[in-house]
Amino acid sequence: RSCPANEAFIPPKFCDNRIVSSKYTVWNFLPKNLFEQFRRIANFYFLIIFLVQVIVDTPTSPVTSGLPLFFVITVTAIKQGYEDWLRHKADNEVNKYPVTVLEDGRRIRKESEKIKVGDVVEVEENETFPCDLILLQSSRDDDTCFVTTASLDGESNHKTHYTVPDTEKDLESLNATIECEQPQPDLYKFVGRMHIYKNNQEPAVRSLGPENLLLKGATLKNTQKICGVAVYTGMETKMALNYQGKSQKRSAVEKSINAFLLVYLCILVSKALVCTTLKYVWQSKPGQDEPWYNEKTQREKDTNLYLKMFTDFLSFMVLFNFIIPVSMYVTVEMQKFLGSFFITWDKDFFDPEIQEGALVNTSDLNEELGQVEYVFTDKTGTLTQNNMEFIECCIDGFQYKYRDASSELDGFCVTDGPVYLDKWEELFLRALCLCHTVQVKEPTEGFIASSPDEVALVKGAMRYGFTFLGLESKTMKILNRNNDVEMYELLHVLNFDPVRRRMSVIVRAISGDTLLFCKGADSSIFPRVRQEEVERIRMHVERNATEGYRTLCVAYKYLSAEEYAQADAGLREARLALQDREQKLMAVYNQVETGMSLIGATAVEDRLQEEAAETMEALQGAGMKVWVLTGDKMETAKSTCYACRLFQRNTELLELTVRTLEDGGRRREERLHELLLEYHKKAVQDAPPVKAGVTRSWSLTNQDYGFIIDGATLSMVLNSSTESNSSRYKNLFLQICQNCTAVLCCRMAPLQKAQIVKMVKNSKGCPITLSIGDGANDVSMILEAHVGIGIKGKEGRQAVRNSDYAIPKLKHLKKLLLAHGHLYYVRIAHLVQYFFYKNLCFILPQFLYQFFCGYSQQPLYDAAYLTMYNICFTSMPILAYSLLEQHICMEVLLDNATLYREIAKNAMLRWGPFLYWTLLGVFHGLLFFFGVRYLFSNPALQDNGQVFGNWSYGTIVFTVLVFTVTLKLALDTRHWTWINHFVIWGSLAFYVFFSFFWGGIIWPFLRQQRLYFVFANMLSSVSAWLVIILLILLSLLPEILLVVFRKPRGPHSRQIAAVTPLSYKHLKERQ
């Protein structure tokens, strides 16, 4: 019985195999949630106001602020509780997944979460590993198993993992301990030792490396079953460590709101301070504080002066607190929540293939979609479909293009090659059929290989008539064009490795000829073939490469008996070597793979996602910088970038990879330093100085730079040996990247992706970042970026679950950002500004009224109006606006990507527009108050000589206010659907109706019938009508004036300018 134990420094206490992503439990939900909610400044502020109203005698009742607050808190709590419940469910799905555990020789079904370190777990084909396992036993003969880590690092090829050498076939008798390092997130590193105890013998020690470790989240492929012992479980698995906690993402708009909130808080406090001070100055004059007609109560007289001052201050705060309305938060939340449905409803996001549309996980970030500056995209499965297809080949300098399924064979033969090339063709196709490590999967006639390219090549050969039938006991069978089966004895496989960048097979045909077929990257093949053949092929290869295809060259040579014998001996010897096996093998390989003849080249396309290039182009046109972060090889990634038109043909590539670092032959650090400086000079210093306003525009006339970096180099840049260097490198690196149109980062570990995102996110100007990916390897970057987008791809739903938005295809990103994002941003920006504006001009008259009522905190408006203003009278039109407004219609937005730049950098929520709105609010507030003030210089406003009182005054101001504020919105509305009409005119009608109703009845529950018939009496006064009309018109006049002064420039801008809200005049000016 194996009982491996971990002898780490901490006592062997391991966490269970439970993954927890949820935030709350049933018990801590209420306090924790309340605490989190009141950490928001706004909620806390409202709580304070509410408490003040409860404790101090204030002009308004606590209900006015308590009720909305309670409502907001409850709704948010329910929403968050529901979301957490969903997370619990998802966790449970993973945690309760049944697994087979071997215990005392019996197989026991267990829930995944019950796995403990040291358990021996059995995993079957196509199952994912429930925790990190050390492979002990495999059902395959060669003690290996195949694994795909697609959901971890995005590589969908099959990786070979090995069992620990010398472990018994019989697991029951195995007795061993395992020592391994503390859990760490790097997927490709693992160091451990296994002590195997055999009966009374000295324990055998075997070292463990990453090739023995099966990671949680990876899937077993092509192997019936394996047994492994759990080493890391639960939150200590490498997958879990690569996840970062899902932190609350807050949008830039919310930050703006908070900034504005602070300004308004200052306004509020200063108003209250001014009023308090003036109150005591005013009261110090004799006879003012307590005239005979208005004596204080005993309690008031007894109160300490300073306490009274303080309570007066608080009362003013409460009186003016409507300037920061709770309802804004409700409306913003509602707008976000309801608005996000338009994304889910959009039928353009519906993908018939998977029968799904877009998915919105977080509605908080809708507007952020309109602010994206950096797009980080995964390659495999995101830009590409991860679906290789054989496109064309070139045999002996002649190009063969696979045309159409219908004209398969003929098409091939008669392309443009003369018929005598048949021999070459067949040789080439045989080479394709033989030179690979593909296995045939019986039932579905599919192929399985560690590299999808190989599958594509074999499939390509099949289309031309050469079908690979499989490998049986070292014999490869091929079905040739004449439907004959050809047999080749497989003698040796010279494996592919990334340094050689080629692989070879040595086969012996029936005829007895020994052949070596080699395929590999052009750069590694060309030096090894006879030079006269190279030129013709090179042309094709280069052309194919620039078209974004993955190219491979194929060469062969005949081996004479002596040659073969020599090679065979060399290979065998090297394989058996105990030391430096790798190097020895390499030497033999290099020796064998010389003097070959080039047959041809292939071009394989990793099919791009639909409209990937168009999407990328649109994103770049919209001023976004696209970075490709991939775990894949550089060459592949580069060709994808070309195919997506991220790199143009004239783009100068700046490479910073292990290869370029090693070119100089010096120490890597020095070379890195040198290259960084050189590139920096090129990309940053030599770039023509651009004005701040146009940095985001990219012009074709300038030299475009593309930057390429790989994971190893990146970690050198980020974790340089010395602290000072590190930050300097980081800076240089960032500056270079920011001046490149596209950046490609390859060979990235998931956490490195997140690191890059974080670095950019925290760089100067705090640009808004967006990550898009489809696999679990993208999760950390999706979580790190401001906006994370998951693609509902083939690699599981990890990314989708952790994303903020999920879309079926990459092409949907364009509409999501350019149309939805843009509209959402404009809507919410307008919503926020409008809300602050309408409450400023709501409260300003109330403030001014204090100067006329002895600073006594007398409200100008009736309590009903105070409460209803934000809830009923003015909330619906802005909500409808913020849901339906399309200041520019969607088609135009999609066609003109540049429009996206107009709202870049939070253009509508910066201090300029904010100041405009604030001044507008102040202007309106002053106008309303003093307009009515002068009217009331003679309060006899009715034609029967009767006079109006203070409530009539407030009602007139309020009527003007409601109408002006609503009509102002109507002026800004560019998209009048019936809902807008209904809500805007309905709100006004409701106000009138409500005022009649409210003033028409003696309300038994009211202590004072302040508004009894006030509204009706107001309407019976012609003067009141006239002043209302005058003030409304006068307030809107500047708005209308702006329209005329805003000059359209040119036919194109006129079309857009005409539909831009009036208040965003400044935006047009920047254009």
């Binding site: 039928k347 007398q858 009894y1012």
Partner: protein
């Protein structure tokens, strides 16, 4: 409006079924409705100079005549104002204002002569005006009990706490309670016309029709229903501290007594600003031949009960005619004329600019 909010909520409820959370319906293809695809037919108004310019002219053309009309109307209103506070030594009421005491039983009267240089043709409205009197002070405004004033028997004997410190006096509830009622204006103003031939004719002043109809008939009710014996109804309550007589003795006319006394109702409607006027009496026009108030000498006789000097207040008596727009107030007329002219002027300026600009724009297009 309400309907619309419900509408939105219905939508909301519908959403949660098929929306992001609902996993069951996920495979359903989004409905291709105009609303969900944000393709509702919409009117897209475009405010251009072309549409705005006529508006400016129209506003100008409408506002200027209205303004002129208002201005003329306001100017035609005759208004006479006299300050009888008695601050100056020379003022006839100086003595009364100096020797004021709440406890004096003998009322102090003063007589102020004045001269009307124009005849007042139509009904004349007599106001009293107070300055620096903060009827809109919060403590003051809330110091009333509307249910007591509405005739509620329970509130009559148990006035609301808001009335403090004017809720009860000597353990008896005050009716009407509160600071507003307590400080009711109680000067008596009488107007005499000094006939050229020397006789002093008292001008009849109407005491009704000065309060809002709804206030008098609905909001203010005497307790005890239609019980004509107000003295009995108000039994057990006491008069406000500063009042000279109880509420049921305000007027002899039972329709104008108690809480429904119009002087009282007018006072209870708190003024908006610290300087205000309240309607006191109406001088009805008798016949078409004689002006209501002919040109000539008048005397105002004041029973000086109301102290204002302690808070530097002023008292005025105002005689005014009324037009369709109310009392004399040139503000509206001037404002309308100004706004109208500005609009018109802007219209002209904009027209010129627009015309010029339009030409330039066209030429630019051509050169492109």
């Amino acid at each position: 409006m309400m309907a619309s909010s419900y509408n939105a909520k219905d939508e909301d409820g519908h959403i949660t079924m098929s929306g992001p959370g609902g996993g069951t319906l996920r495979s359903k293809k989004p409905e291709n409705t105009a609303f969900k695809q944000q393709r509702l037919p919409a009117w897209q108004p475009i405010l251009t100079a072309g549409t705005v310019l006529p508006a400016f002219f129209i506003i100008g053309l409408i506002f200027i005549p209205i303004g002129i009309g208002l201005y003329v109307t306001s100017n035609n209103i005759k208004e006479f104002e006299i300050d009888y506070t008695g601050v100056d030594m020379s003022s006839p009421c100086f003595n009364c204002s100096q020797n004021f005491s709440w406890n004096s039983t003998k009322p102090c009267t003063c007589t102020i002569p004045f001269y009307l240089d124009q005849p007042y043709e139509s009904n004349v409205f007599m106001y009293y005006g107070l300055s620096n009197f903060y009827q809109n002070h919060r403590r003051y405004v809330k110091s009333r009990d509307d249910s007591q004033l509405n005739g509620d028997m329970e509130s009559l004997t148990k006035p609301s706490k808001e009335c403090e410190p004017y809720a009860s006096h000597e353990n008896k509830p005050i009716a009407p309670c509160g600071a507003i009622a307590n400080s009711m204006f109680n000067d008596t103003l009488e107007l005499f016309y000094n006939d050229p031939n020397g006789t002093k004719i008292q001008i009849p002043l109407t005491t009704t029709g000065i309060a809002w109809w709804t206030d008098k008939h609905v909001k203010f009710r005497n307790p005890g229903g239609n019980n004509p014996n107000l003295t009995a109804v108000f039994q057990g309550t006491t008069k406000p501290v500063n009042w000279r007589k109880p509420v049921y003795e305000l007027d002899a006319d039972p329709e104008n007594n108690g809480f429904i006394n119009e002087d009282f109702i007018v006072w209870m409607r708190t003024a908006a600003l610290p300087t205000f006027r309240k309607l006191y009496r109406i001088i009805q026009k008798k016949n078409n031949m004689v002006p209501t108030l002919p040109r000539g000498n008048y005397t105002l006789e004041v029973v000086y009960n109301y102290p204002v000097r302690s808070f530097e207040g002023r008292k005025r008596m105002i005689l005014s005619t009324i037009s369709w727009m109310g009392g004399k107030n040139p503000f509206l007329g001037i404002a309308y004329i100004t706004v109208g002219s500005v609009c018109f002027f802007l219209g002209v300026v904009l027209l010129i600019i627009h015309h010029k600009y339009g030409n330039r724009n066209n030429s630019a297009d051509i050169s492109n």
